[in-house]
Amino acid sequence: MIDGTDESTRFISRRDLLKLAGTSACAACLLPLTGCENLWKRQPAIAVDRWEKGVCRFCGTGCGVTIGLRDNKVVDVKGDEEAHNRGRLCIKGLATRDILYSPSRLLHPMIRKNGDLERATWNEAMELVAQRFKDAIETFGPDSVAFYGSGQLLTEESYTANKLFKAGIGTNNVDGNPRLCMASAVTGYTSTFGKDEPPGCYEDIDSADCFFITGSNTLECHPIIWERIQDRKRSRPGATIIVVDPRRTFTTLHADLHLQIIPGTDVALYNAMMQVFVERHFIDRDMVDRYLSFQEGDRPRSFVDFKTHLARYSPERVADICGVSAAAIREAAFLFASSKATMSLWTMGLNQQVQGTASNRLVCAMHLLTGQFGRPGATPFSLTGQPNACGGVRDTGSLAHALPNGRVVTNPTHRQEMEDLWNVPRGRLSAKPGLHAVALFDAMARGSVKCCLIMCTNPGQTLPDLNAYRRGMEKAFLVVVDAFHPTETTIVADVVLPAALWVEKEGVKGNGERRYHLSPKLVDPPSEARSDLEILVELADRLGQGQLITARTPQEVWDEWRKISAHSEYNFEGITYERLKQERGLLWPCPSETHPGTKRRYVPGEDPLATGNGRFDFYGKPDRRATIWLDHQEDLPDPCTPEFPLLLNTGRILEHWHTMTITGQTPTLRSIHPDYLEIHPYDAHVLTIRDGEPVIVTSRRGEIELRARVTEIVRPGTVFATMHSARHLVNQATQAAHDPFSKQPAYKRCAVSVRRKAV
């Protein structure tokens, strides 16, 4: 700057500085366009335009999800941090981001012509369906048609179908797949408390000190609930986990005590545990004196009778029946009764038995007798398999024996109440219980049921003793509404209608803890698919029942339904769509729009329906006392014989759900195959079966081929197969024998023989 040479020797010229600054500014602005946003911050692996809250499509845990959309397509799914699952999702929940775009989505209606399913228009298909239903009703009466629904339908859909068939057509032939999975829990709760649905909630897990998990592989089948149990154990290592399961599942690996009982011996075990309660003075006398009654069959019993009854079930005697040591039974009973708060969790292992109802109510009885009830962490709690079996089917009474909100068709007062609420003439509702699932398909085979509308379920794979009931499906005029094709049911249908799936339709779901939450509509259904509600409304119109089905949108149906609930102990009138859009669901009873929902039922002060100042008010029972049942361990059908020496147990794995129509198509899960038979090394040795060999499993009803997996997970004398695969239908072997009260089939136990497949 002093002389001419300075300019050239300057470290950096002003012009260069300006250039540099300009270039840097441009680079910073263009950064997002170059794909180098990483230079400023970490980027998501999946780009998303917007996030919306929703509910997982799969199991009854009912996890909250946030759904990522891009260009009006679902591209990502995450756990909702605000929901009860605290942002967690299992692998099936994560897979929901792919399910809408499965190659096996059904896109247009199909009608069977000359033996083959052919594409048809909606008008053609609906006209045919309406005509066949009308013909059957006119010629053979209302009981010649039926509805077979699902715990996956939305509440509005199940409610509308129930109303259409029971109050419109006039038949109680309304049943569904919850009969195969939840029915024993329903009868268990209603026989004990007078009302269905669990008294506790998921939050109880956070306070429990002892978990009594029986008949549930929680780790694999309800992974998010399992994580919550694990969280409790992690923060309080002294908390104990007792698992009762015939298999050494992943769940049992984390247990403090595993009772590996022989399948079907639950009743003996629970009676023995209660015998220990009596023997060691763990009985809560206040409960017995003020809040409990005892019953055996139709006859009332006393506490003294009950103790006499239990005397036959000393742990030492029961040890032989159950195949576990008396010491283990005593220890389990001690841990159960002595803990500050014990929570029982169970699911299909208890429900899918011939003594399913008895098992359910005995577990409830164990809680009532020891006073492990109605406090945070102390509750019996049945886990649910489907996302809306509780809310959609159990609460709406969409079962053959039931009417909405815990009413039953055989009770004239209940019928009259519903006739008034539905605004139909007195006497419109049939007093005759409809056909439950197995009986329904049996009636189809015998020809007394001519037409059946099946929605959102796959009985062609899930019914027990399939070979017998498939004939019924082939014989009847079968209308199947499903989002997927082919399934084992659509392939035998006469009309197949394409349904909207998950976020392609709006509606309320009720999960395992009485929580109603809203599953929003975020994208349009593909091609010609329609929501099940639209299909039901159109069918109602075509059957001349349009004046009955006045609510035609999900919100209209929900408003009608929640107002009806106000006339019952299920009262959830306060759960409006507006609230559901804001909140992550609400637990009923919830009688007003300002009520926060109810965590623990039957507890005065917590439950708005419980009255008085006592510890409990079991308002579901006329004497306001819960009932303890005196149930005996019975001889079970389909016993082992030298010809069929092994017991077949069926179940599920973490990665798949039900019949795999959804999970079997997702890119992430389809590579995981569930086609194997677990067999104990001892049995494998006797039968000269090696690991990985193809084997034939034969029962008294049918046979299936599977690959042997020699493992100590199963007890000697038992084998295990999953119910998932359509390639090997395990239900060709299972038995149709069912619980006398709940009519739920005993999928968990049948006698089989296993042999190596001849090469």
């Binding site: 700057m1 300075d6 020797t9």
Partner: protein
């Protein structure tokens, strides 16, 4: 470098004062270095904290780098002026 300069001086037999530009650069370098060292010292003495770390790392260090750059630039300019480069 100091050695080089000494050799340079010996060769020319008569030390010439640096140009005004070099002096200015050196003065600036010294000020930058003092400011930078103060910033860094504050951070090191105080320990991690949003402001002290920012001061030390994002103000102090760049100042020190500028000081060092200016110093090198001044030396090179000086050597060039003297025809040593």
């Amino acid at each position: 470098m100091g050695e080089q300069k000494d050799v340079l001086y010996e060769h020319q037999q008569e030390p010439r004062p640096a140009s005004a530009w070099v002096t200015r650069q050196l003065t600036l370098a010294v000020d930058c270095a003092i400011a930078g060292l103060v910033c860094v010292l504050l951070f090191l003495w105080h320990g991690f904290g949003a402001w002290t770390m920012g001061l030390g790392t994002f103000v102090g260090i760049p100042l020190l780098l500028i000081a060092m750059a200016l110093y090198i630039s001044a030396v090179i300019t000086d050597l060039k002026t003297r025809g040593a480069l």
